[in-house]
Symmetry: C2
Subunit: 427 residues, 2 copies
């Protein structure tokens, strides 16, 4: 039985988000590209936007609503001064992490899209590559580097060229980065599908360097819209399920068979659907393999899934109940700061509430051990372990204000679909 | 604890399939349409096909592989003499039901498509309506009528006209039919979406007459294809998940709120995904209702789901384990004869294997009680209850051959996607 108290826990989140601060690219691009770097501009209505290559990204803080009351969740912050500073300022972020007791965090990008497809959409591929590398350097050196042991570094992929993608994986791995974000469907974004051998150099680099492919929900480039007149709630309910397609696509692919050490994280993918999914995989294999030609040797698809896939949840009682069917070594925890689903500022309490009855050793695997193992992340190399618990971190943050407060702002935006809508060029 | 033996069980299946026999329309159409009735033809290569209105449906026995070894599941039967007669001959069907111990069965159509969209695609709407009514008459009078108390009647819908659809519901209800099959997405098929008030007369008729909307998996008109070069296993794994969209679409719609007695069955939809789905519904409601405007009064979406939706499974250990999270009054059993997923000829044994530990009263709800209540089906009005058990039915069938045997045939067809591909006109 679980005897863990919130203050005893250690928390490492495999899915948070950062909002890119102005000045990110300063001094990081070759001179000839300097004028064309992505930059922040303020519009006449007082919004802040990122601009790059003729595209304006209005929702700089896509769903960055941490610290706001739920009643305002339909309203996207449109300016830096409408956001909690922890969204874009790493020093403020670490204070928010301490206040909540979160030791480690992996932060996905905002304005480039979860898999950096804004850069991939740029026709000038030299510029695109320069910008992408500058972003990765900034993320690793400046964001993560400011607080060693507190952030799991993550790089953007070179979606448009598998060989350059492989090179970038090797380059960032040498900088200590063991995660690369990726799209649920390169095919939907106009690139070679997961089944195209063109990606082989990329898979090889990931395996050689021990880098995890972190596939974030909502990165497929397609929305789950049932009909134009459907309530938005339908899309909110279904959108996460696109990641099921990515999981099936990769599980049945030759990639898994030919690159046996490839590891994939289904970021923000939830866990409650996994047991049924595994059941379907095994059923499909048992019933149809004789004519589809699938062959996993001595294994079944559910075994193969557990070797290759990491899952995670924010809050998911069904997943916790069925953790044995998923695999206790395949479940990680995420905080999702600063998005609307986050359990911040009391993530330890939220996790313990739904994991009541989970033995301590299993809870530790979920809360931090699996994350550290998958992402080759060793926070204790930088900080004595007794200083890493929720209680220890919170005591360092005494007096910090984490109260929910209301903002005054004007525009309403539908929060779901903005990841897609973001990348439409303004006409 | 469960003490039930296979022979003590009663089994009523909410999802089986029939293959339409030649002669179905004989004498059932007005004289002026007689030459244009759908008819069976034999092609030069020895296949049987249905023909209607310029469309040829080659796979008359879509996935009708009952009685075959698994190695042949990729091969569709293409002629009546390649099929087990129970697929298309009701007298043989009842013998197969008796041999397996199945008391009751609801049979979905084959060549018209699960929701009859072949007829809806006919430009001559008078002809289409005449054919559809003839089909429904045949199904209710001839197929179900041959063995009262053994079949739950089901009608095809008038997809192209909500008022005519309502009229047809009232017409078949008067004949004792309490189920109408429907598509997962009328919008995808080119008709008004679930959210369009045009359907209101249809919803009203369903509620007035106590007729269940039976939405069969695979009836959305869209395939879950991740990319053209993906292995077929991906599609087999994902295809069932389209029904999740229909469930979300209807749950959040005004239809549920304005027609509170509407009942929907997610046919062949499985159950293992429902608990996570309910969790997402409630989470979406709790997090976003303040800006999306959803309002279920005192209830939560998961409660609303249980009032309106019947789920079912063939084999689904995850669903059985989580039956309390789904709702024990919302789970029915299906046999799926004669498709490849069927547990025929030993469905009672299969169900008991996965329901080990389920109390008898809960098992009975799943095995037949929920089906009878939802579909207003009373088999005991026609047959003494003690003659309705698996053991009693099997003893009537003593000596019947239910052995698996191999067929000799030539063509390979991908079984998944045929529901879609069927309706392409030949060029």
């Amino acid at each position: 039985m679980g005897t863990m108290q919130p203050s005893d826990m250690i928390l490492v989140s495999v899915d948070d988000h950062l909002v890119e601060p102005p000045g990110l690219f300063d001094g990081r691009l070759p001179t000839r590209f300097r004028d064309r770097a992505p930059k922040v501009a303020r519009t006449p209505d007082g919004s802040d936007v990122w601009e790059f290559n003729g595209t304006v990204i209005p929702n700089i803080g896509l769903n960055a609503v941490a610290g706001r009351p739920k009643e305002e969740y339909g309203v996207e912050p449109t300016a830096f001064d409408e956001m909690r500073p922890g969204c874009f300022d790493v020093h403020e972020r670490v204070k928010d992490m301490n206040a909540a007791g979160v030791l480690g965090s992996m932060c996905f990008p905002s304005f480039p899209g979860f898999s950096g497809r804004l850069f991939a959409a740029c026709d000038d591929k030299e510029l695109a590559l320069a910008v992408l590398r500058a972003y990765n350097d900034w993320h690793i050196e400046e964001w993560c580097g400011a607080y060693p042991g507190r952030f799991i570094p993550m790089a953007l992929p070179v979606l448009w060229d598998p060989q350059l993608a492989a090179d970038e994986v090797r380059r960032v791995a040498a900088m200590g980065c063991h995660s690369v974000t990726f799209t649920e469907s390169p095919h939907n974004l106009g690139f070679a599908s997961f089944h195209n051998p063109a990606w082989d150099p990329f898979w090889a680099a990931l395996c050689d360097e021990g880098v995890v492919l972190s596939v974030h929900l909502g990165s497929s480039g397609s929305l789950a819209v049932t009909s134009p007149d459907a309530p938005v709630d339908v899309m909110i309910t279904l959108q996460p399920m696109n990641i099921t397609s990515a999981a099936a696509d990769l599980l049945w692919s030759r990639v898994i068979k030919e690159f046996p050490s490839l590891r994939i994280a289904l970021s923000e993918g939830g866990t409650g659907w996994i047991p049924y999914f595994l059941e379907r995989l095994d059923h499909t294999y048992d019933t149809h393999r004789s004519w589809t030609g699938q062959d996993f040797g001595d294994q079944r698809p559910s075994d193969v899934f557990r070797q290759h896939f990491l899952t995670c949840f924010i809050e998911d009682p069904v997943g916790v109940q069925l953790r044995d069917r998923i695999g206790i070594d395949n479940i990680a925890w995420e905080c999702d700061y600063p998005h609307s689903d986050t359990t911040w500022p009391e993530p330890a309490e939220a996790l313990l509430r739904e994991a009541a009855g989970v033995p301590d050793d299993e809870l530790s695997k979920i809360a931090w051990e699996n994350a550290c193992r998958w992402y080759s992340f060793d926070p204790f190399a930088h900080r004595a372990r007794e200083r890493c618990t929720v209680g220890a971190l919170r005591s360092e943050a005494t007096g910090r204000d984490v109260a929910v407060r209301s903002f005054d702002h004007g525009r309403f935006e539908r929060k779901v679909g903005l990841e897609i809508g973001n990348l439409q060029p303004t006409s």
